[in-house]
Subunit: 272 residues, 2 copies
């Protein structure tokens, strides 16, 4: 993965410095879990990470992107290492690195803490395995004004590089909860109405509208098998209406339609 | 790409039969454009393709999936070739082939023909380069009841294997138009209201609602640069509201929210 060839005069070869090596290991889940750290790349993600106060360390290329202070928005900058293009290529997981990578601190929330704040809107991703889908749900939930995204069951690591990129910074805006035990999640959501999307739901999403103004948790199931029956049984099944020949929507589209239906209902003027 | 190793006793090695070789070439755009054909794989896509009457030829593995007649829904079956697992692996572009691949006929519609039918809802994908996004837009537009998806400008080939798979059969349900000249598309849509999604739109999607019941074309721009200014200038700019910290929605999520807002408005009872 790390190309060791470099032209003379390109500057010091820093791919194997202790700092870079330690950061590189964060591309693996095991190391992320062990250290509670993860990587975020590109100016947008780094700006959001700095604003959230979770950046421990920055890597930039020389000359690197101008405006580090601008990215920090006047706040303090963490330690910055200038690295070669080659080291950046190794640190960044994209084909065309954008010249800046941050080592960030994971800040999962406790389930009880999130629920205690009485959120109006929460997304629960159950058994989501695809990091792109997980990131898209984070981004869409954030856009729709959800307070938290709960990764329940056998979920992908939300700090996976692909998920961080797909979230487009939203990982730093919403509260993230990870809880393997789905029953614990459902017990904690006791004070909210809990809806599960399914093709065979009894109630049409748009018939549900007056009720969507109430505090709501949306359960979204995994790509392959949807929501487990035992989970469905504890939620109200809702059908996103299909007006054409399609059998269903994909996960990201269904989540967008449901979360925005809630957002719209929760923000409509009372007379509607 | 084609592994030639096979165990003795696996049956005839048919990867290089003329029929298989001709089908394999359809994995390349150049060949698809030249022949007007494309590949669809898996029982769901093949069932929809058979129902649409566009299947020219089928490849199955021996023993192959049971229920070919069931897939055909009682209709006539096109010529069927039984091929080795190895040939199937080459024909299918997925990691775990589902044992059936169809050679289909492309059936693009003429822009004028589609517009003449006075559709209620149309999606226009402008400069969409990612086949997964193109397929998702097809699927979401179909689910929302759109009559057609118009691929305008410098678009991906909608008959690309990844797009066909992401469309989950919807490629066979909606009318597909391809037109490089975006001005021609906008001229043809003259009788419909044309909305363009943008983060900087003047009108909030949900404020627009009473008007969404009218015949509508939604323009969705490319992943990297959005819609060209010249196109924006000819449409009404609409903002999908962002309630949280996200800068924007991704393409698939924005399309889902907009198309379903139209679908809902077009199907609401008149007194709403």
């Amino acid at each position: 993965m790390i190309s060791q060839a470099h032209k003379p005069g390109e500057g010091p070869y820093t791919t194997r410095t202790p700092r870079v090596s330690a950061a590189l290991k964060l591309q693996r889940r095991k190391e992320r879990d062990a250290t509670g750290r993860f990587l975020a790349e590109g100016p947008q993600a780094v700006r959001e990470a700095l604003a959230a106060g979770v950046v421990l360390e920055l890597f930039i290329t020389a000359p690197g992107p101008a405006g580090l202070a601008e990215l920090a928005g006047g706040g303090d900058l963490p330690p910055v290492s200038v690295v070669t293009e080659e080291a950046m290529k190794a640190l960044a997981e994209t084909v065309t690195p954008q010249g800046i990578v941050a080592v960030c601190e994971q800040r999962d929330r406790e389930l009880a803490e999130v629920v205690a704040r009485r959120p109006q809107l929460v997304a629960v991703a159950v058994d989501i395995r695809d990091p792109g889908n997980a990131g898209t749900i984070l981004r869409t939930a954030d856009a729709a004004g959800a307070a938290a995204v709960i990764f329940a069951g056998d979920a992908v690591d939300p700090y996976n590089g692909k998920c961080v990129r797909a979230s487009a910074g939203s990982l730093f805006h919403v509260d993230i909860v990870r809880e393997r035990d789905i029953d614990r999640v459902l017990n904690a959501l006791d004070g909210m109405q809990v809806f599960a999307t399914t093709g065979r739901g009894a109630v049409d999403l748009f018939e549900l509208e007056p009720r969507l103004a109430e505090p709501t948790a949306w359960l979204f199931g995994g790509e392959a098998h949807g929501l487990p029956e035992a989970v469905m049984a504890r939620a109200q099944r809702v059908r996103v209406p299909i007006y054409g020949g399609a059998e269903s929507l994909n996960l990201a589209a269904a989540a967008a339609v449901c979360l925005y239906a809630s957002a719209r209902a929760q923000r409509s003027s009372p007379e509607l």
